[in-house]
Subunit: 279 residues, 4 copies
């Protein structure tokens, strides 16, 4: 490995230094007994000596040369932010937290629109916030018969990925296939336990001493997609169902924000059928 890493550094000299760049760090993960590897690297470069377009060309050429199945390069300050749409229901804590984080510049995305299957008056905090910031808000009433998926699909065409901020509907396989990009969901239970509805209630009834939240990719199977991040907090006999919910909501916000941030920093890679690599 020493050699390969020196080669790595030397290559980085050849590739990056020649372009006025330098590696800041690299993560490499090679699953045991699998002829595949995952990696993520950070480097700095001189934009004058390495044009963004040239950079893409360089990496494309290289990745082709080595049959890389996937190769993504992002320059945080040059490239446009990831475009997302947030889909929510009645519960607002995750949605509001995302909006505030976005406003404070802590969430590195552009929120193109917010879609909700819960009706909010024009005078509600959320709707006023969105109006003030020029973010379209769409109320799409869903019923057993009509999930409004075609309309949602139209609305999210130009997004890079979707965020379900406590959306209380299951998206169909048809929708997932049509959309074809990643969808991140937040669940206030330590998956795989407490799937489905009222996980706080389930946890409370089970008398647990730790509650958690899980952010994961959406798949056809409910709450069974690859896990990105999980967080926990202690509970005791003094906690009631209300404080379980409160603590869960606080965890959900942190856990969802962390997952989105990691995703935007290209730290999250799909791994095997139902796992993730998170560098």
């Amino acid at each position: 490995m020493v050699r390969t890493l020196l080669v790595l550094l030397r290559s980085s000299r050849i590739v990056l230094l020649s372009r006025g760049g330098n590696i800041l760090g690299a993560d490499v993960f090679v699953p045991h007994n699998k002829n595949v590897f995952y990696s993520r690297s950070e480097f700095i470069f001189d934009p004058v000596r390495w044009a963004r377009v040239q950079m893409d060309e360089d990496f494309l050429r290289i990745s082709k040369m080595f049959d890389a199945t996937r190769s993504v390069v992002r320059v945080p300050k040059l490239d446009p932010k990831f475009k997302i749409a947030v889909i929510a229901s009645k519960q607002e804590h995750c949605l509001i937290d995302l909006l505030h984080s976005w406003q404070d510049g802590r969430l590195p995305v552009d929120i193109t629109r917010v879609i909700s299957n819960h009706d909010r008056g024009p005078d509600t905090h959320v709707v006023r916030f969105l109006e003030r910031n020029g973010i379209p808000y769409h109320y799409l009433r869903t019923t057993k018969e009509n999930k409004r998926e075609e309309e949602i699909l139209d609305l999210v065409q130009n997004t890079d990925f979707l965020v379900l901020a406590r959306y209380m509907q299951i998206l169909s396989g048809k929708f997932l296939q049509s959309y074809g990009k990643d969808i991140i969901n937040i669940h206030h239970g330590l998956l795989p336990s407490f799937k489905g509805g009222y996980p706080s209630k389930q946890a409370f009834d089970a008398g647990v001493k730790l509650i958690g939240a899980t952010s994961h990719f959406v798949t056809e199977e409910l709450d069974a997609g690859p896990i990105i991040e999980q967080m926990v907090e202690r509970v005791s006999h003094r906690d009631n169902i209300q404080s379980f919910v409160q603590k869960s909501e606080s965890l959900e916000k942190q856990c969802l924000a962390k997952a989105i941030k990691s995703y935007c920093e290209l730290r999250v890679l799909p791994y095997e059928e139902n796992k993730t690599v998170v560098f």
Copy 2:
């Protein structure tokens, strides 16, 4: 509450100060809408002015006077330690940790005997340790047909509670009833998820980012008794099934030791049908 607390202090003056004692702290928990309360208090006293026997009399009288369903008083340095028996199988990490903690004086119990359904040679570390410290070791081979429960029952008659340190057998309801006292078990999964066998494998296959351990009271239903303590640790894509097991074992040891310590300090009270109060 101010009054009640001043009354509390005044009563403590009446009861305790008169005996040369003083309260150090009190925890009171009153479940909402239930005409019951749980409490734990610590106090210091002058053994010369308050004989141990007298103390029991005082508290017995008081608890009767107020129809307390249960009242336990312990004086750590005067009263005999809780007598326990440890029951294990092949996995030794919890057993060894208990023995070391006991030897270092960190586990406030007397280990009366160790029972195992896994055969260990006389030259193994565990057996030599037990021999050296005069703790009887019993190998009871179990089969589908014969769980040896009668023999176990005979061996643990004089214990205050039992500890299952990774015992891979399910104790029958008949055994639980006959023994009639508390039994603490350790499970290397965040119950109620990953019940039963190979929880580490279950967690690994589920691609979780947090693994845990749970110490709980044993009931007839497998891994479903009231939870006493739960602990977690982060795992990542770099962890394999071996490191999952290693981290789980480390959690199991801490979680079991914490539960036993809390139990011996009278911090653990049964609450509702399947919960605990842990002061």
Copy 3:
């Protein structure tokens, strides 16, 4: 203690049940060898049967009867929220977090005004937010010669306590005495280490593996007042001074919010000369 606690419960019956109330929980702390005690209790009651005024009378009478040095009763939904003023400088992350928490109803206070010694244009996020929500914003330019303390004092007269959200000025003993109420400060270092300026830089240069934040009461001595809450987060060689600052700011927000919440729930009591009891 059993008796005193039963007395406590019986008294609670006499006092509270007679008023349609019931205890939910009680914490009592009696420092060793000190003839004093601290306590906090939560109870529910029927406002129809126990008028708020009557409640105060009852507790006042009782506290007098027992020479309680201090006795505070609050009914979250009946009593007015604590009035605070937030004082800040150029750094906005804590101020903005407080405003958002207040807007989301997570911060149980009324923010009467925001005072800053850093000039913000009328079009800045903070100033627009305050204007929109009718919260006065005061820019008071401070100099070595003039700390503007008299003006600040006038502005905060009607507050219950003050919050220093990264205020980069040391308040004089004269100010503290004149104000006479509690002032909560946030410091992004694990006090008592890294006092004063640039704690993140200090921590970075020290090569620590954990950074923290501390919320504490303000006293005349810089960063030496009683500590209310401390939080930490891991850092590694991959962290640079910028990420140290980022993580510190995230900790500061959580740590300050937690301290304010605990304070408003009457969980924080001064203890000895430089400590706190936090129930």
Copy 4:
């Protein structure tokens, strides 16, 4: 980086696969604006196809080829364990924990001897344990005038590194230079705060809400060497100086064991004058 990583993989094919090996993972850290890099990699290989001696030759050649300042290769199951000597004083908790971890196979080192400046009788747990396991125990009484450093030096000649398990003497610069290898110390305070004696007392008097432990390399300046690992635990007003000490000791054991384990896995590299890279 894609190229460099494919190059890495290709090189790994050239170097490792040709030897029947494969990379499992790699960490690379390149400090900003410094023409240096740090890396650690894990790989598996076929010992039949790649002799241990050959492996060293290969890596030596490579490291020379690339002017690597330092290159270490270890094969956990083939190479001899690191030889250490443990130096202690009266406090035994860290020493005993190290001995138990070593006995349980959790500490990947050979303890060649234990040196103490505190006199223990032959019937003490520690001395009997050492005798039983054939580990020499040396009592070297130290005085202001005579630190017995020459004798210690003689005793530790054949060690790979030293562990100070609560050794209450400051080793001279002369000793450090003569020994010339790494020395790991444990301190029960969150350095750089609470240096020197009685850190628990210092923390208690400061009214902190978090206490910690720090494992670090020993340098001439007391408690100021590069930090390897830090851990914390919550304390409250209910904790007294005794429980501060207890919690600190528990942290010390975990923190020291973690540092030794990381060190033996070649995860710890010196970085700049007073920092560490811990992969």
